[in-house]
């Protein structure tokens, strides 16, 4: 656990000194909203469409993050340095997932208000924010767990910018499905409606299964 904190602190320090990922992901998501506005020719969206745009934009921003998540470690020897230390190797995977989670939260602080201003039709109230936070938190868990695993898988390949998104996208389809379905009544035109628990349950199950799986498998991606 101490190792995880050490690694997490290093990641956040790096991002604070040379901000790269978070600004890029935030900028990307805002630009994507602009693109959606013109592609769909709509001023206001709500319901299914709003949920879809929000989740898909977050997904694409995550893909951006996955591609860069391990680059510093790969190119500057961070992997070797970590492997030389007498610590549990899974800690790196946990730390990377937490890092991505933290980045996603930061990005959402920009992305969600931008969405509300640029595209979202219905008004925003506390109930909506509360439900949105709940769903986004669960989505973030799924995205960061898969991101930490697939990022580590892709970083060692020659075509890592290609392999990462190709593997991550289908793996994340269930997250998109359940999150979009759970959010669509919340973003409804007549104010936030009731969420259907089954989607959150499947999303939670997905988070749990892949969390455990990534935890069990991460070690194998480090050894040489």
């Amino acid at each position: 656990m101490r190792t995880v904190l050490t690694l997490l602190r290093k990641e956040l320090l790096l991002e604070r000194k040379v901000p790269q990922l978070v600004p890029a992901m935030a900028l990307f998501s805002v630009t994507t909203f602009v693109v959606f506005h013109f592609a769909l020719q709509q001023r206001d969206v709500d319901g299914d469409l709003a949920a879809g745009i929000l989740v898909v934009t977050l997904l694409f921003a995550t893909i951006l993050g996955i591609n860069r998540l391990y680059v510093a470690d790969r190119e500057e020897g961070g992997f070797d340095a970590f492997l030389l230390a007498p610590v549990d190797r899974t800690a790196l995977g946990v730390a990377k997932a937490l890092t991505l989670f933290a980045f996603l939260v930061l990005v959402e602080f920009v992305m969600v208000p931008a969405f509300a201003i640029l595209l979202f039709g219905p008004g925003v109230g506390w109930e909506l924010v509360g439900k949105l936070v709940l769903v986004l938190a669960m989505v973030n868990v799924g995205l960061s767990v898969i991101g930490a695993l697939v990022g580590a898988l892709a970083i060692q390949t020659r075509a890592r910018d290609l392999i990462g998104p190709l593997v991550a996208l289908p793996l994340l389809v269930p997250v998109v499905i359940t999150a979009a379905r759970a959010l669509s009544p919340v973003l409804g035109a007549d104010g936030p409606g009731a969420m259907e628990g089954q989607f959150l349950a499947v999303l939670g199950l997905y988070d749990l299964v892949f969390g455990l799986l990534a935890y069990a498998l991460f070690d194998f991606l480090l050894e040489d």
Binding site: T157, L166, V173, F199, V202, L213, F220
Partner: protein, 243 residues
């Protein structure tokens, strides 16, 4: 060690069972009331899909074995199973598209969750070969491929659950594919179809293993005889150094 021992028996059994299954499907199974004759596609499409999905999961199980033991033969088995399942997957999607066209008038039906799930799983497994190919060190290649195979294997059932749940429409389900309320005359050819397809899969699986093994033996023999080393290019297939 040889892999080809049971190949002949399996091949003959596969051919026989598939012939009987398709024969029964055409001559003895009743024409389904809603869909008419086009429902006959069911007997080739669904067994293929079931066998392909089982092949993916089997590949994942072999990958677990590989990660646990580190033996190259499990990586080979995982690779062959996934490779064959992807080939079957092409057949599933093509026959599925044809069936959708015949039954609903469109080549692809988004409201049919099974078909959609299968497409997603298929797209995921399509990246298996490129992933292998882009890792040069063979040992690392097989380990990474196994990590992928385990993850994807666990993804198969979860994905089906998510897609099935997301289907908001009550789509007229032609057949309950669990087989529970299949009419009796449908059931026998259907089960035989699954069996035959599984046998076919098994025969091709044994053939591939035997072929890969023979190649490895040949390469070893060549090295023993002191022939010039065959240039081993970058390959996506696992390299078995000895049996």
């Amino acid at each position: 060690m040889t892999y080809g021992n049971r190949l002949r028996a399996t091949s003959i059994a596969a051919a026989l069972v598939l012939m009987v299954a398709f024969g029964l499907a055409f001559f003895s199974a009743k024409i389904e009331a809603d869909q008419g004759f086009s429902q006959k596609i069911f007997y080739v499409h669904v067994p293929m899909a079931i066998v392909a999905l089982c092949g993916f999961v089997f590949g994942g199980i072999m990958a677990i074995q590989h990660l646990r033991t580190g033996l190259a033969k499990y990586d080979l088995k995982s690779y062959v199973a996934i490779h064959l399942s992807v080939v079957l997957g092409v057949g599933v999607l093509l026959t599925g598209a044809i069936w959708a066209k015949a039954a609903w008038g469109t080549w692809f039906e988004w409201r049919e969750p099974t078909l959609v799930s299968f497409l997603i799983v298929f797209l995921l497994y399509c990246t298996y070969q490129p992933l292998r190919f882009s890792i040069e060190d063979p040992e690392k290649q097989s380990r990474y491929a196994s990590v992928f195979a385990v993850t994807a294997g666990a993804f198969v059932p979860l994905n089906f659950l998510a897609v099935r749940l997301a289907d908001p429409y009550i789509h007229p389900r032609v057949l309950n594919q669990a087989g529970g309320d299949l009419p009796d005359s449908f059931r026998l050819p259907f089960y035989l179809g699954i069996l035959g397809m599984a046998l076919l899969f098994s025969a091709l699986y044994q053939y591939e293993l035997s072929h890969k093994n023979s190649r490895a033996q040949l390469r070893q023999l060549r090295r023993k005889l002191g022939g010039e080393e065959e240039a081993v290019g970058r390959s996506a297939a696992p390299q078995v150094s000895s049996s």
